[in-house]
Symmetry: C2
């Protein structure tokens, strides 16, 4: 290949490469962060909501969802948050999703050191590296969260989402550091861990504190017992039900427990996470037809929601634009003026 | 800015740009296709399953899901198909997802020309461009499907998925061209369209053919009536229920109808599509613990599934590898040998 031809060939190749690159569908980006606490590099997957870079609106701040087992859950989860935050049918506010990829999963997600013989083959010892969750939660609180707040426009509302050991971790974090997150989601949590140490901690918590902190949400999903038995997980089911009983006796928590018929331990996160977000943000969905007749309803709804969630939520500019278009198209002149006023109040143009 | 500085600045900028580009998370790519039938360029979003480019296994073929309203549904849908196709908990086979982006949605998805005054503002005429679905289905069958089969490794099993007008389109396609797809998913379909013309077509079909073709699946989801009324959609609900009655009287179809409490017209696709795929591929999930004791079960299950679906399905090499690892780790020697033999039979190494 002579040089001139090589140049042409490379140019064409580069052209197509960059042409193709523009045509990919992306949902986020990977970042790395060196954790001093864990003494290792961690990979973080970040998804920004649809309006994040919309230059036609005032730059907004967004709640943040910290998603454990990022490598397995990130794709459907980010698709879901965007889908159910679409106006005018939005069930939740738009969220930033931070997926955390595992390095040593058992070490990070389990609260105590506890080894176990494999139920299938007693020659195999499981969980030799367990017991590092206190370190891992420090990493989340003192290193990851500050990095996210520094680099992205975040609102003071964050949710921790986990499954299996990740669910165990979420519940342990709720009990030991309830101030770290506003809401906790535990899908089929491994509460059987270490002779149900987390159940004991829950009992201790209730005994000592009488009730749970205000403005917190906890959602627990549970897979089908029959399916669990097929996978040697019947002690998983028992522990979750025991936890449910303790929590349900204590009425101060915004708590929901769901049993999913037909779901396995491996699939329950999909419907569980959907229901969890709809549960946490219950009251967020607005009825645009009602707003035409009763425009004051919107701020009343947001006031209730903010009280329930223990954080300030206000109608987004993107949503107010949709409301305004609706009022204009359908000739609800008074309501249109009302919401125009509201928009100017929340989002004054400089 | 002097030239030397400009050069440095640009170099650094390019370096970071390309560095960042490598770190994005992608879920598919956009392709364009000029349709002679529609006389326009169409944008198609393509998602390939996780194992598609896995060089450690024999190149496999995959069922194809044609997803209408691609721009709204592609992200969560592709995340979902990958998630529920994960071994060993897989509920469905890995699938290629083809999202179709709209140009003139009403034109493409409605079966007849039918205009309507806006229920909110009678001065506005809706659906002036309706009635082009026969053309659009020809585009799918004669242009899009051949392009996908030519460029990707596809299995002879395809599913059409739509919502609202897309659901109307799916049901109309099922009635007028049942041979085009093996399964049809209609989320909250707009069966009220044009004085319920599709209900009449369904009655005619049943009267003429007595029963539906074998090996076909049809799934219909329905949003909550109360929520529908808030959005002026109560005639939507009535028509879907009328359709359900006609179909349920005719027992020959692999049919499921689901009502989703609390879901709106805009949100029902999310749980609907999940349930639809689990319904269509019911029988696909295997019990790996049972396989240890009774390895013959696997091919028996696949035989039943293939009969039900009207297409050949066989255990994937990726799945057989998971089964083999399980048998080896847990010292099920006989079953391991059995599945090694099966793997060599289906996927002989050249």
């Amino acid at each position: 290949m002579n040089n001139w031809f090589k140049f042409l060939y490379l140019s064409v190749f580069l052209f197509f490469t960059s042409g193709r690159a523009q045509e990919t569908l992306t949902i986020g980006e990977k970042q790395t962060l060196f954790s001093k606490i864990l003494n290792e590099k961690r990979e973080i997957w970040i998804h920004l909501p649809k309006t994040y870079n919309d230059t036609t609106i005032t730059p907004a701040k967004y709640p943040v969802i910290y998603l454990l087992d990022g490598e397995i859950n990130f794709e459907y989860f980010t698709g879901m948050t965007d889908f159910i935050a679409r106006t005018p049918y939005a069930d939740i506010p738009e969220c930033i999703v931070v997926g955390i990829k595992n390095t040593e999963r058992t070490r990070d997600l389990t609260p105590t050191k506890s080894q176990k013989k494999s139920p299938v083959n007693p020659d195999v010892t499981l969980f030799a590296d367990s017991g590092g969750s206190e370190n891992f939660v420090k990493f989340l609180q003192d290193e990851l969260k500050p990095m996210i707040s520094k680099n992205y426009r975040t609102q003071e509302y964050s949710i921790l989402v986990g499954h299996s050991f990740g669910g165990l971790f979420a519940i342990n974090t709720f009990l030991t550091h309830p101030e770290y997150f506003k809401a906790y989601v535990a899908n089929d949590p491994s509460l059987w861990w270490d002779n149900k140490v987390t159940i004991s901690r829950t009992k201790d918590y209730v005994e000592k504190n009488k009730k749970f902190p205000a403005g917190k949400s906890l959602y627990v999903s549970q897979a089908d017992n029959e399916e669990q038995q097929k996978n040697w997980n019947s002690d998983m089911t028992q522990a979750i039900e025991e936890f449910k009983e303790i929590i349900e006796k204590n009425g101060s928590l915004n708590y929901k427990h769901s049993f999913f018929k037909g779901e396995t331990h491996g699939t329950v996160s999909y419907p569980g996470n959907y229901e969890a977000l709809k549960f946490i943000f219950k009251g967020f969905r607005t009825d645009i037809k009602q707003l035409a007749k009763n425009p004051k309803q919107l701020e009343a709804d947001y006031k209730n929601l903010s009280e329930k969630l223990g954080a300030e939520f206000a109608p987004s500019e993107a949503y107010l634009n949709v409301v305004l278009t609706f009022m204009k198209t359908n000739d609800f002149k008074e309501s249109e003026a009302y919401f125009m006023n509201m928009k100017n109040r929340y989002y004054p143009k400089k």
